[in-house]
């Protein structure tokens, strides 16, 4: 017997773009499906499919989950490549998976979760992308504040890191510390090098395999 949903699902209507079809000026910077070394030198394949966002207003009104809008994952500063600070902008589809996990984290933390500038999606052309961090997959978030608490002490970073590990199965939390690979003024959470390939997108071509 068919059932009907009991609550209105969160929905958004953004076009999904194949990175291979983007104009060259975007493609050269976003590097869809290219390999990029991670911090350990292992090669990782960058996302190919992107949500296309035509304006900041669209980003602000695109509700990925109950408490996270797409805009929260898109705040970058002057360190992002100039062509990629303008609209339309392209965000890897897996941002929706991160948002869903952060929603669970927010529930467990019991307070609003604030993602920092440059702390959501950063393209491979961003000045901070000196290696392929999960920010280039839109699967990482740098959280600088939860409720009224700034995450700039060991105590707070480790406290919320434990909550994240509990609430987000399979997530990775950057350990506290002040050397490369550690964090001491924010909480870095990511869900790994995940790509999302939505229904209706082109499949792999045999000659490319």
């Amino acid at each position: 017997m068919a059932t009907t949903p009991t609550a209105e699902p969160v929905q958004f209507d953004l076009p999904v773009i194949d990175g291979f079809e983007l104009e060259e000026r975007y493609r050269l910077l976003l590097r869809p499906d290219e390999l990029m070394p991670d911090a350990t030198g292992e090669l990782r394949r960058l996302p190919r499919f992107f949500l296309e966002v035509d304006s900041w207003q669209t980003a602000l009104t695109t509700q990925l989950t109950e408490h996270f809008t797409l805009s929260e994952f898109m705040v970058v500063d002057v360190r992002e490549a100039p062509a990629l600070r303008d609209f339309p902008r392209h965000i890897p589809c897996a941002v929706t998976l991160l948002a869903a996990q952060l929603e669970m984290f927010r529930r467990e933390a019991g307070a609003p979760v604030y993602i920092s500038a440059n702390g959501g999606y950063r393209t491979p052309a961003h000045a901070l992308s000196d290696y392929g961090s999960t920010h280039c997959w839109a699967t990482a978030a740098n959280i600088y504040r939860i409720g009224d608490e700034y995450l700039d002490t060991r105590e707070r970073i480790e406290k919320y890191g434990r909550i994240a590990s509990r609430a987000m199965p399979g997530c990775w939390v950057r350990p506290y510390g002040n050397v490369k690979g550690y964090a001491d003024d924010h909480l870095h959470i990511d869900i790994g090098y995940v790509v999302q390939i939505p229904h209706g997108t082109p499949g792999e071509r045999a000659q490319d395999l």
């Binding site: 705040v75 002057v78 920092s116 500038a117 440059n118 001491d184 003024d185 924010h186």
Partner: protein, 276 residues
């Protein structure tokens, strides 16, 4: 003039004093110990301002470019991270923006008007120490030794400090007043920012009320400085730099700078009366 300046310094008990001014009306400059080096304190923010707007004029930055506000910096001495002490910084507004972004022009205004150390280091980070040094070299500002961001205590312990001479700061301010090396828009923006200065106990305190001063102060335990461009009605401006060094417990620093400022004002005003 020299005797008057020396007397003011001696009466106040300053350990060292340097003064330089240049009057655009009479095309006349004068200095006392103009090449003596002092710890720059916050007057180094004027050369940083030049570096920022040089980047703007080169198209590397835009005044409306957004910068991530983050309180974490790397020491030039050994690469260790450090933070600006929130309780000691004079601008809570910038600290309240941590995690978000502010525009380059907003940060520049806070760096000068409220002397925000956080805004200063953010701008140094985004422009680059090497690039700012290169700008100062291009401008021929030999009397400015820019080495690092502010509150870099590891660098301080390693004796890596920002230093200035009165001639150096005078030349830096003349770069802005002359409108020769920068675009007119950038010069106007820099002047507007310097006019927004909120600490007025130095040069402005020695001037008549109708004077307007675009300036930058600097103070740590052993130095107190002020450097600015003075605009008076119906005459071209003059630039004045007053650098002072003190014992850690000394008082009366600002009033002394105000007295020197008054002496310079009277000197240029006398020149106006003499020369019509």
């Amino acid at each position: 003039m020299r005797r008057q300046i020396v007397e003011i310094g001696e009466r106040a008990g300053a350990e060292a004093l340097a003064v330089a001014f240049y009057d655009y009306r009479h095309r006349l400059g004068w200095s006392y110990h103009g090449d003596r080096w002092f710890h720059a304190a916050s007057t180094i923010k004027v050369p940083v301002l030049l570096g920022v707007f040089h980047a703007v004029d080169r198209g590397v930055l835009h005044p409306y470019s957004r910068v991530h506000v983050r309180n974490r910096f790397i020491s030039v001495a050994d690469g260790t991270p450090f933070r600006i002490d929130t309780s000691r910084d004079s601008s809570p507004e910038v600290h309240q923006a941590i995690g978000r972004t502010m525009q380059v022009r907003e940060l520049a205004r806070h760096m000068i008007a409220t002397s925000s150390n956080l805004a200063t280091n953010l701008l140094i980070d985004v422009v680059g120490i090497d690039e700012i040094q290169e700008t100062l070299r291009e401008l021929g500002l030999d009397g400015i030794d820019f080495r690092r961001g502010v509150e870099d205590m590891t660098a301080w312990a390693a004796n890596l400090n920002n230093r200035v001479t009165a001639h150096g700061l005078l030349s830096a301010l003349r770069v802005i007043a002359d409108e020769r090396h920068f675009s007119p828009e950038s010069c106007r923006e820099m002047l507007d920012i310097l006019h927004a200065q909120e600490f007025k106990r130095g040069i402005p305190a020695g001037l008549p009320e109708h004077a307007r001063v675009a300036h930058k102060t600097g103070e740590i335990s052993t130095v107190a400085h002020d450097a600015g461009i003075v605009f008076l009605p119906d005459r071209e401006p003059y630039v004045v730099v007053i650098l002072t060094e003190w014992g850690a417990e000394a008082t009366g620093r600002h009033s002394m700078i105000a007295r020197v400022s008054r002496a310079v004002f009277e000197h240029v005003s006398d020149g106006d009366n003499t020369n019509g």
